[in-house]
């Protein structure tokens, strides 16, 4: 190769180098602009938008700026027409679309979940029979730590389409007890005793008021239904504690929880013998029914 041949190559080479340098510069500039803008917007919206939404918004803006820079500046430098990409991209898009159907579905569901916000991190929930604490909500999946300490990853599509029970979405929550007392006991006295206990307990809310009433005349007992409202944070601890306190207080006041019992009537008189306790000998005949 002589000098003339090299001189022929230089303009073409310099053109390619210039284009490459231009593309790199535009990419770096778009990244810098994207980062700078998101940092500024993050500071501005920090106290106005919640953290989850802000993260999504910042990612959309950041990648949007880069995509815009590629389409508007880089494609013309590289002599790429966006319309031709659309045709090629259409075919590829269909293939990728089928392959990534579930991923996109989960992603879209994740976006809707973050918008609708039926759950937040730290909530106690039941999703698709997985009850526990929400540990994390990602773009594709939601992580639950079950009450028995298991890690469960639920795809967002399932979270979005299934029934969600959020145990802590409201400020207060109710639990019920059924307290059975004997038929010979005074139900009104029992209700007064239970009311006194509930009045003394700080976490049994004054409003909404507790409901205490005779609910059912059962086979073996008069059933008193006790409905107690508690702050959601104290609900479980209170529920596990109050029933025994009520039982003890009723017992101390002579009101007992009855055992199941059945009265049997015989059609004809039964022949029985009474046994002497000392000698185990029959001392007389009695007829009872």
């Amino acid at each position: 190769m002589n000098v003339t041949d090299i001189m022929v190559w230089i303009p073409a080479l310099s053109d390619t180098i210039l284009k490459g340098a231009g593309v790199i510069f535009i990419l770096i500039a778009s990244v810098v602009v994207g980062k700078g803008l998101t940092i500024y917007l993050r500071r501005y919206f920090k106290d106005r938008v919640d953290k989850d939404h802000l993260n999504i918004l910042m990612k959309v803006i950041y990648y949007g700026i880069i995509t815009l820079a590629v389409l508007v500046f880089i494609f013309p430098i590289l002599d790429i027409e966006a319309s031709s990409l659309l045709v090629a991209g259409g075919v590829v898009g269909i293939v990728i679309g089928f392959a990534s159907q579930s991923i996109v579905g989960n992603f879209i569901s994740g976006l809707f979940l973050m918008t609708e916000r039926p759950i937040t991190i730290g909530d106690q929930v039941n999703i698709s029979d997985n009850a526990g604490y929400v540990e994390d909500i990602n773009m594709i999946s939601t992580v639950i730590r079950t009450y028995d300490g298991l890690y469960v990853r639920v795809p967002n599509e399932i979270v979005f389409t299934t029934n969600i029970t959020n145990y802590v979405a409201n400020m207060v929550r109710r639990f019920d007890y059924v307290v059975g007392i004997r038929y010979e006991d005074d139900a009104e006295r029992a209700i007064d005793i239970i009311q006194e206990i509930l009045d003394r307990e700080p976490f049994v809310l004054r409003n909404p008021p507790a409901g205490i009433f005779v609910d059912k005349l059962g086979d073996n007992s008069v059933n008193i239904l006790v409905r107690i409202w508690a702050p959601v944070s104290e609900w479980y601890e209170l529920k596990t504690r109050m029933l025994w306190i009520i039982k003890k207080a009723l017992g101390e006041n002579g009101i007992e929880i009855p055992f199941p019992q059945r009265t049997v009537w015989f059609a004809s008189e039964l022949q029985t013998k009474r046994i002497s306790p000392a000698e185990n000998e029959p001392i007389e005949n009695e007829g009872t029914n």
Partner: protein, 236 residues
């Protein structure tokens, strides 16, 4: 009882016993109340102790910063009128320790009154509040300051209608308590805006000269506040 103490000291009143004694070069804080005993070792020799009333929303657990006072009998306020009433509020007592740099740290809270919580508003958007019931008085109530304090509430009815008040909700983090030897007071203002909306704010000056301002928990815990107001938006 509400005062500054230098160890060793012992306080016994009603059914409370508080003592701070030196033990092996450290201080030991003990508090007995109704059979419950709290004991803490303070790894410091020169601490000063401050006992004073604090915002009554911490016992048995600080679930909320709001105190709801339920009026035993509703009070009626005339249109465009301004009236002052006195209520009683529960007292919680805080024990603070301070080092040489006079930075106070809370080490214990107790109360001689019962505790109860309630929901103000609806279950979805309402507030969990500490609950207290009080009569409505027209002058200072002379409460037993270990159990209750006096809250002077100025009610301003900005509406054109008679208003019936059955309760008042106070943001405990805005409370300013002032105490003397036998008096414990707070002063607040309620501005009624509509039948279901009122704004309550606390006054930051004592009722009379010579009163000391209580150490506030939010100062101790370094909680930053933007407002001392509470908004009653779920009815009066």
């Amino acid at each position: 009882m509400f005062d500054r103490y230098t160890p060793p000291f012992t306080i016994e009143t009603e059914n409370i016993s508080i003592s701070v004694e030196e033990e092996n070069g450290n201080l030991v804080y003990r508090r007995d109340l109704n059979g419950d005993r709290i004991e803490k070792i303070i790894l410091h020799k020169y601490g000063e102790f401050l006992i004073n009333p604090i915002e009554p929303v911490n016992i048995p657990r600080a679930l909320s910063s709001f105190l709801l006072i339920d009026f035993r009998r509703p009070a009626m306020v005339a249109p465009d009128d301004r009236q002052t009433i006195h209520l009683k509020f529960p007292v919680e007592i805080g024990i603070f320790v301070s080092g040489r740099e006079s930075d106070h740290e809370l080490i214990d809270i107790f109360t001689l009154t019962g505790s109860k919580f309630t929901l103000y508003g609806n279950p979805t958007r309402g507030l969990i509040c500490k609950y207290w019931q009080s009569d409505v008085h027209s002058s200072y109530t002379h409460p037993d300051i270990l159990h209750e304090g006096d809250l002077e509430l100025e009610i301003i009815n900005d509406t054109n209608n008679w208003m019936e008040l059955t309760q008042a909700v106070f943001n405990a983090y805005g409370m300013k308590m002032y105490y003397g030897s036998d008096r414990l007071s707070m002063k607040a203002q309620m501005r009624i805006i509509s039948k279901s909306l009122a704004e309550i704010d606390f006054m930051t000056f004592p009722l009379a000269p010579g009163f000391l301002r209580s150490m506030e928990l939010y100062t101790s815990r370094k909680i930053l506040l933007s407002s001392t107001k509470s908004i009653m938006e779920f009815g009066l």
